[in-house]
Protein backbone atom coordinates (compact mmCIF):
# COMPACT_ATOMS: atom_id res chain seq x y z
CA UNK A 1 0.00 0.00 0.00
CA UNK A 2 1.48 3.36 -0.87
CA UNK A 3 0.51 6.96 -1.47
CA UNK A 4 2.46 9.69 -3.26
CA UNK A 5 1.94 13.42 -3.62
CA UNK A 6 4.08 14.83 -6.40
CA UNK A 7 4.36 17.64 -8.94
CA UNK A 8 5.50 15.39 -11.78
CA UNK A 9 3.44 13.18 -14.06
CA UNK A 10 3.04 9.41 -13.62
CA UNK A 11 3.14 6.47 -16.05
CA UNK A 12 0.00 4.39 -15.49
CA UNK A 13 1.38 1.25 -17.15
CA UNK A 14 4.56 1.38 -15.12
CA UNK A 15 2.67 1.88 -11.86
CA UNK A 16 0.28 -1.02 -12.55
CA UNK A 17 3.14 -3.32 -13.54
CA UNK A 18 4.97 -2.51 -10.32
CA UNK A 19 1.87 -3.01 -8.19
CA UNK A 20 1.05 -6.46 -9.59
CA UNK A 21 4.61 -7.78 -9.75
CA UNK A 22 5.43 -10.71 -7.48
CA UNK A 23 1.84 -11.36 -6.39
CA UNK A 24 0.19 -14.21 -8.27
CA UNK A 25 -2.82 -14.32 -5.96
CA UNK A 26 -4.06 -11.23 -7.82
CA UNK A 27 -6.76 -11.85 -10.39
CA UNK A 28 -8.14 -8.35 -10.78
CA UNK A 29 -6.74 -4.84 -11.03
CA UNK A 30 -9.01 -1.80 -11.08
CA UNK A 31 -7.71 1.69 -11.74
CA UNK A 32 -9.03 5.23 -11.93
CA UNK A 33 -7.31 8.18 -13.58
CA UNK A 34 -8.60 11.71 -13.04
CA UNK A 35 -7.66 14.29 -15.68
CA UNK A 36 -8.01 18.05 -16.14
CA UNK A 37 -11.04 19.03 -18.27
CA UNK A 38 -10.83 21.99 -20.64
CA UNK A 39 -14.30 23.19 -19.60
CA UNK A 40 -15.85 23.50 -16.11
CA UNK A 41 -19.19 25.13 -15.28
CA UNK A 42 -19.42 26.56 -18.81
CA UNK A 43 -16.01 28.29 -18.64
CA UNK A 44 -12.85 27.48 -20.62
CA UNK A 45 -9.99 26.34 -18.43
CA UNK A 46 -6.55 27.64 -19.36
CA UNK A 47 -4.78 25.91 -16.48
CA UNK A 48 -5.47 24.54 -13.02
CA UNK A 49 -3.36 24.83 -9.87
CA UNK A 50 -3.68 22.23 -7.13
CA UNK A 51 -2.81 23.32 -3.61
CA UNK A 52 -2.50 20.90 -0.70
CA UNK A 53 -1.75 20.90 3.02
CA UNK A 54 1.78 19.48 3.37
CA UNK A 55 2.01 17.32 6.45
CA UNK A 56 -1.63 16.31 6.38
CA UNK A 57 -2.02 15.23 2.76
CA UNK A 58 -0.03 12.00 2.90
CA UNK A 59 -1.47 10.94 6.25
CA UNK A 60 -5.03 11.63 5.03
CA UNK A 61 -4.44 9.48 1.94
CA UNK A 62 -2.84 6.73 4.04
CA UNK A 63 -5.85 6.75 6.37
CA UNK A 64 -8.18 6.34 3.37
CA UNK A 65 -6.15 3.43 1.98
CA UNK A 66 -6.05 1.79 5.45
CA UNK A 67 -9.81 2.16 5.69
CA UNK A 68 -10.20 0.56 2.24
CA UNK A 69 -8.02 -2.36 3.27
CA UNK A 70 -10.20 -3.00 6.33
CA UNK A 71 -13.46 -2.81 4.37
CA UNK A 72 -12.45 -4.76 1.26
CA UNK A 73 -10.43 -7.90 0.66
CA UNK A 74 -7.70 -6.32 -1.44
CA UNK A 75 -4.11 -7.31 -2.09
CA UNK A 76 -2.57 -3.90 -2.66
CA UNK A 77 -3.45 -0.28 -3.41
CA UNK A 78 -1.69 2.78 -4.76
CA UNK A 79 -2.73 6.44 -4.78
CA UNK A 80 -0.77 9.14 -6.63
CA UNK A 81 -2.03 12.74 -6.56
CA UNK A 82 -0.33 15.60 -8.37
CA UNK A 83 0.02 19.16 -7.06
CA UNK A 84 1.07 22.40 -8.71
CA UNK A 85 0.00 23.80 -12.08
CA UNK A 86 -1.60 21.45 -14.61
CA UNK A 87 -3.03 21.91 -18.11
CA UNK A 88 -6.22 20.51 -19.69
CA UNK A 89 -5.65 16.86 -20.53
CA UNK A 90 -3.03 16.39 -17.82
CA UNK A 91 -3.37 13.52 -15.37
CA UNK A 92 -4.28 14.60 -11.81
CA UNK A 93 -4.82 11.46 -9.78
CA UNK A 94 -4.27 7.71 -10.08
CA UNK A 95 -5.83 5.00 -7.93
CA UNK A 96 -4.91 1.36 -8.53
CA UNK A 97 -6.28 -1.54 -6.51
CA UNK A 98 -5.43 -5.22 -6.87
CA UNK A 99 -7.49 -8.10 -5.53
CA UNK A 100 -8.24 -11.75 -6.11
CA UNK A 101 -11.56 -10.91 -7.81
CA UNK A 102 -12.95 -7.89 -9.64
CA UNK A 103 -15.79 -6.97 -7.27
CA UNK A 104 -13.52 -5.99 -4.41
CA UNK A 105 -11.10 -4.20 -6.74
CA UNK A 106 -13.88 -2.11 -8.34
CA UNK A 107 -15.48 -1.29 -4.98
CA UNK A 108 -12.24 -0.40 -3.22
CA UNK A 109 -11.18 1.83 -6.13
CA UNK A 110 -14.50 3.72 -6.05
CA UNK A 111 -14.37 3.95 -2.25
CA UNK A 112 -10.86 5.42 -2.28
CA UNK A 113 -11.84 8.05 -4.86
CA UNK A 114 -15.05 9.01 -3.02
CA UNK A 115 -13.14 9.43 0.25
CA UNK A 116 -10.29 11.31 -1.45
CA UNK A 117 -12.81 13.76 -2.93
CA UNK A 118 -14.20 14.64 0.51
CA UNK A 119 -11.38 14.02 3.03
CA UNK A 120 -7.99 14.64 1.39
CA UNK A 121 -6.76 18.26 1.71
CA UNK A 122 -6.43 19.34 -1.92
CA UNK A 123 -7.93 22.47 -3.47
CA UNK A 124 -8.22 23.39 -7.16
CA UNK A 125 -7.92 26.88 -8.54
CA UNK A 126 -8.78 27.45 -12.19
CA UNK A 127 -7.36 30.08 -14.50
CA UNK A 128 -9.97 31.23 -17.00
CA UNK A 129 -9.64 33.72 -19.89
CA UNK A 130 -10.96 36.49 -17.60
CA UNK A 131 -9.34 35.64 -14.26
CA UNK A 132 -9.01 33.01 -11.58
CA UNK A 133 -11.50 31.16 -9.39
CA UNK A 134 -11.38 28.51 -6.69
CA UNK A 135 -13.36 25.37 -7.53
CA UNK A 136 -16.38 24.93 -5.24
CA UNK A 137 -17.00 21.59 -3.55
CA UNK A 138 -19.93 19.65 -5.02
CA UNK A 139 -22.80 18.23 -3.00
CA UNK A 140 -22.71 15.17 -5.27
CA UNK A 141 -19.24 14.35 -3.90
CA UNK A 142 -20.59 14.33 -0.32
CA UNK A 143 -23.45 12.10 -1.44
CA UNK A 144 -21.03 9.71 -3.16
CA UNK A 145 -18.93 9.46 0.02
CA UNK A 146 -22.02 8.98 2.21
CA UNK A 147 -23.07 5.78 0.36
CA UNK A 148 -20.18 3.90 2.00
Amino acid sequence: MSVRVQAGDFDVGEEISRLRAHDRSVGAIASFIGTVRDVNDAASIIEMTLEHYPGMTESALEAIVDDARQRFDIADALVIHRVGTLLPGDQIVLVVVSSAHRGMAFDACAFIMDMLKTRAPFWKKERLPDGERWVEARASDDEAAARW
Binding site: M56, L116, K117, T118, F122, W123, K124, V135
Partner: protein, 95 residues
Amino acid sequence: MRDTDVSTTLSVRVVYLARLREALGTSGETLTLAPDAPPTIESLVAALVRRGGHWAHELAAGRAVRFAVNHRLVNRAHAIADGDEVAIFPPVTGG
Protein backbone atom coordinates in the same frame (compact mmCIF):
# COMPACT_ATOMS: atom_id res chain seq x y z
CA MET B 1 3.05 29.10 40.90
CA ARG B 2 4.89 28.41 37.67
CA ASP B 3 2.72 25.38 37.04
CA THR B 4 -0.41 27.49 37.39
CA ASP B 5 0.93 30.01 34.89
CA VAL B 6 1.68 27.32 32.36
CA SER B 7 -1.74 25.71 32.69
CA THR B 8 -3.57 29.00 32.13
CA THR B 9 -1.93 29.91 28.83
CA LEU B 10 -2.75 27.90 25.76
CA SER B 11 -0.94 28.60 22.55
CA VAL B 12 -1.94 27.13 19.19
CA ARG B 13 -0.67 27.50 15.65
CA VAL B 14 -3.52 28.33 13.25
CA VAL B 15 -3.08 27.66 9.52
CA TYR B 16 -5.38 29.09 6.81
CA LEU B 17 -5.47 27.32 3.46
CA ALA B 18 -6.60 27.82 -0.14
CA ARG B 19 -9.44 30.31 -0.70
CA LEU B 20 -9.61 31.16 3.02
CA ARG B 21 -5.90 32.03 3.09
CA GLU B 22 -6.50 34.53 0.29
CA ALA B 23 -9.75 35.92 1.73
CA LEU B 24 -8.25 36.37 5.22
CA GLY B 25 -4.98 37.72 3.88
CA THR B 26 -2.73 35.45 5.96
CA SER B 27 -1.39 31.90 5.82
CA GLY B 28 -1.30 31.51 9.59
CA GLU B 29 -0.64 32.87 13.06
CA THR B 30 0.07 31.81 16.61
CA LEU B 31 -2.87 32.44 18.95
CA THR B 32 -3.03 32.50 22.72
CA LEU B 33 -6.46 31.38 23.86
CA ALA B 34 -8.37 32.51 26.92
CA PRO B 35 -8.28 29.81 29.57
CA ASP B 36 -11.70 30.47 31.13
CA ALA B 37 -13.37 27.51 29.43
CA PRO B 38 -11.99 24.37 27.79
CA PRO B 39 -11.26 25.69 24.29
CA THR B 40 -12.75 23.99 21.26
CA ILE B 41 -12.75 24.67 17.53
CA GLU B 42 -16.09 26.40 18.13
CA SER B 43 -14.65 28.85 20.68
CA LEU B 44 -11.58 29.48 18.52
CA VAL B 45 -13.82 30.35 15.54
CA ALA B 46 -15.95 32.59 17.77
CA ALA B 47 -12.79 34.49 18.82
CA LEU B 48 -11.77 34.95 15.17
CA VAL B 49 -15.28 36.10 14.18
CA ARG B 50 -15.12 38.80 16.89
CA ARG B 51 -12.36 40.45 14.84
CA GLY B 52 -15.11 41.52 12.41
CA GLY B 53 -14.52 42.34 8.72
CA HIS B 54 -13.34 39.47 6.54
CA TRP B 55 -13.06 37.24 9.60
CA ALA B 56 -16.71 37.63 10.54
CA HIS B 57 -17.80 37.25 6.92
CA GLU B 58 -15.73 34.18 6.00
CA LEU B 59 -16.21 32.28 9.27
CA ALA B 60 -19.87 33.21 9.86
CA ALA B 61 -22.28 30.47 10.96
CA GLY B 62 -23.53 28.58 7.94
CA ARG B 63 -20.39 29.11 5.83
CA ALA B 64 -18.82 25.87 4.60
CA VAL B 65 -15.59 25.69 6.61
CA ARG B 66 -13.62 22.58 7.53
CA PHE B 67 -11.10 21.99 10.33
CA ALA B 68 -8.13 19.76 11.08
CA VAL B 69 -6.20 19.48 14.34
CA ASN B 70 -2.71 18.06 14.10
CA HIS B 71 -3.47 16.92 10.53
CA ARG B 72 -6.72 15.06 11.32
CA LEU B 73 -10.18 16.23 10.27
CA VAL B 74 -12.26 17.26 13.28
CA ASN B 75 -15.65 18.86 13.94
CA ARG B 76 -16.42 22.09 15.80
CA ALA B 77 -16.81 20.35 19.17
CA HIS B 78 -13.21 19.09 19.12
CA ALA B 79 -11.17 20.23 22.15
CA ILE B 80 -7.94 22.10 21.50
CA ALA B 81 -4.79 21.48 23.53
CA ASP B 82 -1.68 23.56 24.04
CA GLY B 83 0.68 23.28 21.07
CA ASP B 84 -1.93 22.00 18.62
CA GLU B 85 -1.82 22.93 14.95
CA VAL B 86 -5.31 23.95 13.87
CA ALA B 87 -6.00 24.21 10.14
CA ILE B 88 -9.02 26.11 8.82
CA PHE B 89 -9.97 25.60 5.17
CA PRO B 90 -12.79 25.38 2.62
CA PRO B 91 -14.32 22.00 1.67
CA VAL B 92 -11.71 20.06 -0.28
CA THR B 93 -11.80 19.81 -4.09
CA GLY B 94 -9.05 17.38 -5.08
CA GLY B 95 -9.22 14.29 -7.27
